[in-house]
Symmetry: C2
Subunit: 196 residues, 2 copies
């Protein structure tokens, strides 16, 4: 089933109700117990309507998650790269710690390995743009001399986000502010220190 029949006659009312119900049910029952049938019933919508516009439960929740995430963890530029990275990572960690976003994102991640299209969509719509933003912020710090010219910025981003994903998928307790600060410090140090 292909995602969009691309029509202007689509009911915005139904779309909103579906996305809202998907997130609500994710909070109430957890991602694993959210079903298309339950979403349809809760949203007062026909199953056919959901299947017409989304290929799967994961796609519905990805759209809902993306919509809700957009302005949750902005990349600000106060001139202090350390402070900006700390607040950015803290924002992401905090968002993942509250329902429905934490469980929803975990559920979405869990679908990626048997849903190629969803994986591509997540990377293109969510991950890659944000990684680019992060690299942009690091480059700006580079211009201001806070980071050496030759630093491996993409690696730095993975070293920052890696532990966040690591703890999230393994369901380890989320990092507190102090741990995040230590993490950011280490990443920045690793960029500044000479090779050994």
């Amino acid at each position: 089933m292909i995602t969009p029949p691309s029509s202007v006659r689509r009911s915005e009312r139904s779309r909103r109700a579906i996305l809202r119900s998907a997130l609500d049910l994710c909070t109430e029952r957890g991602y694993g117990h959210v079903t298309i049938e339950a979403i349809a019933a809760d949203a007062g919508v026909s199953k056919k309507t959901i299947y017409r516009w989304w290929p799967s439960k994961g796609a519905v929740l990805l759209e809902a998650f993306t919509d809700a995430l957009i302005d949750a963890t902005p990349f600000v530029d106060t001139g202090d790269i350390g402070a900006d990275l700390r607040s950015h990572v803290a924002g992401a960690v905090k968002l993942l710690s509250v329902p429905p976003f934490g469980p929803a994102y975990a559920g979405i991640l869990s679908e990626l390995h048997h849903d190629d299209r969803l994986a591509q969509q997540l990377r293109e719509q969510l991950v890659d743009p944000r990684v680019e933003e992060a690299i942009g912020r690091l480059r700006s710090a580079q211009d201001q001399g806070q980071i050496p010219p030759g630093a491996d910025l993409p690696l730095a981003v993975e070293m920052l986000y890696g532990p966040v994903y690591y703890r999230h998928v393994l369901r380890k307790p989320v990092q507190d502010e102090e741990t995040i600060a230590t993490l950011v410090d280490h990443v920045l140090r690793s960029l500044r220190a000479p090779g050994y």
Copy 2:
């Protein structure tokens, strides 16, 4: 349902057939399409027998995965902490890149968020012991003066494994040896460099 009736009369033959079929089916169809019914049929075993010893599909594959992983990524001590970490991380990355282990582990991770017991089991049986091993190896390097005394070793482990998990769950291309070497270098640098 509780996992083991703890009996000595258990059929080792059935157990092996079940674990083997679980991994085989994971290779052939992918984790999402592996079902208890399919495992039972493939292994020539009654469903009841599977449910008697394992609470879920995830638990079966966790046992199969653990059995197969044990000696895949050992912690050796050649005296060179950089070389040892590189080979260890490379081993983990390589293992995750081949079926059925990559898909199986991804599937297991995907179950964690709606299966508290499986999450606990994975951490206790797989993750925590290996983290302790890694910390032990780092501490040994500390004793040899390759790492400063006050270094945050648990954080170092998360900085090493974080990017591996990050790429695995997002299904980004796996790291090559050079990237892994760069990652290890950065982590070691971050431990050695002074705070800023």
